[in-house]
């Protein structure tokens, strides 16, 4: 069980917790906005991808 716990920790948090937190926040925010403004469902695609890029850049800067 210790190894499984270590696997999941390494898998989700790894050496960059910003990635996991950022992805969950970006997905949650996208879902929330589309739930309340369905007309934005197409426009949010590029913004969501841009958010992922920002998260990646932050995790690289904080290396």
């Amino acid at each position: 069980m210790r190894y499984l716990r270590s696997f999941w920790y390494d898998f989700i948090v790894g050496d960059s917790w910003e990635t996991a937190v950022g992805v969950v926040a970006a997905l949650g925010a996208t879902w929330f906005i589309i739930e309340h403004h369905a007309s934005l469902s197409e426009a949010l695609g590029p913004l969501f991808a841009a958010a992922i890029i920002v998260i990646m850049v932050i995790s690289l800067i904080r290396k």
Binding site: V23, T30, W31, S41, F48, I52, M56
Partner: protein
């Protein structure tokens, strides 16, 4: 298109992990005996196959596709970003490259210090190390096969689709690495692990963004064509990041 990507990503990811598992099996086999090492590795492979079978079936049967894609997309994104980030840092020289020869020597040295345990041809230390090594390296592969396969939809290659197609990619990698290991009888240090990790990281990120976005309600303007656009964008970002960080690392050294 997604069927071919699924097969390739599963094959590449599995190859990387199998190369690492092979190093452990070789070190265990040489120091503790082949019987214990191979039984441990075989049993771990059976456990991994059962995990894929049970969780693969459960996910696709009980969870609605939109919710599945939201959850799986999130996991693939996190996983893909971790792999891409590591390979970027390794390319830039900010993180040590995975050295199978060094790991092999360390494993052999560690295992040689432990006195034999068990009766007859069975050595329990060898069995445990091989079992644990293959299981832990294989868990990442199992995760990719289950998540990627269960969300990939019905598009297939050679009559296979979804989890079955992803499993085929993983099994092909396992067979290829095993044959190479048996022929060479030493760790596969020349396999371009970092390049493969970079490529798999990109594919996982692109599909994670696409599926995660779809699960959250996004309607992608170009349909599945958006996956290609995401791949190219993330690839350019990764390539650019390697160059910027490499230059930064050189400047730090020469300062």
């Amino acid at each position: 298109m997604s069927g071919l990507f699924l097969l390739t990503a599963s094959f590449l990811a599995s190859s990387v992990e199998m190369v690492e598992a092979l190093t452990i099996i070789l070190a265990t086999g040489i120091t503790r005996g082949w019987r214990s090492a191979l039984i441990g590795a075989a049993l771990a492979s059976v456990v991994l196959a059962l995990i894929i079978l049970v969780f693969g079936a459960a996910l696709t049967t009980f969870i609605p596709l939109d919710l599945l894609r939201l959850i799986v997309g999130g996991f693939l994104l996190i996983f893909g970003m971790q792999w891409l980030r590591k390979s970027i840092l390794r390319y830039a020289g900010l993180k040590a490259l995975h050295d199978e020869d060094r790991i092999f020597r360390e494993e052999v040295s560690e295992l040689s210090k432990v006195s034999p345990s068990g009766t007859g041809a069975m050595d329990w230390v060898g069995f445990t190390v091989a079992f644990k090594g293959v299981l832990l390296e294989g868990l990442e592969v199992a995760f990719i096969v289950i998540t990627f396969g269960s969300s990939a939809g019905s598009e297939g290659v050679g009559g296979l689709s979804g989890v079955g197609l992803a499993t085929a990619g993983a099994v092909a990698a396992l067979i290829l690495v095993l044959i190479a290991g048996l022929v060479l009888h030493r760790p596969l240090a020349k396999v371009p692990e970092n390049t493969m990790k970079f490529a798999v990281g990109l594919v996982l990120m692109a599909f994670g963004t696409f599926w995660g976005g779809e699960g959250a309600g996004i309607e992608w303007a170009w349909g599945e064509g958006a996956i290609l656009a995401l791949l190219v964008t993330y690839g350019a970002l990764g390539w650019g990041a390697v160059h910027v960080l490499r230059r930064e690392a050189r400047a730090t050294v020469s300062a």
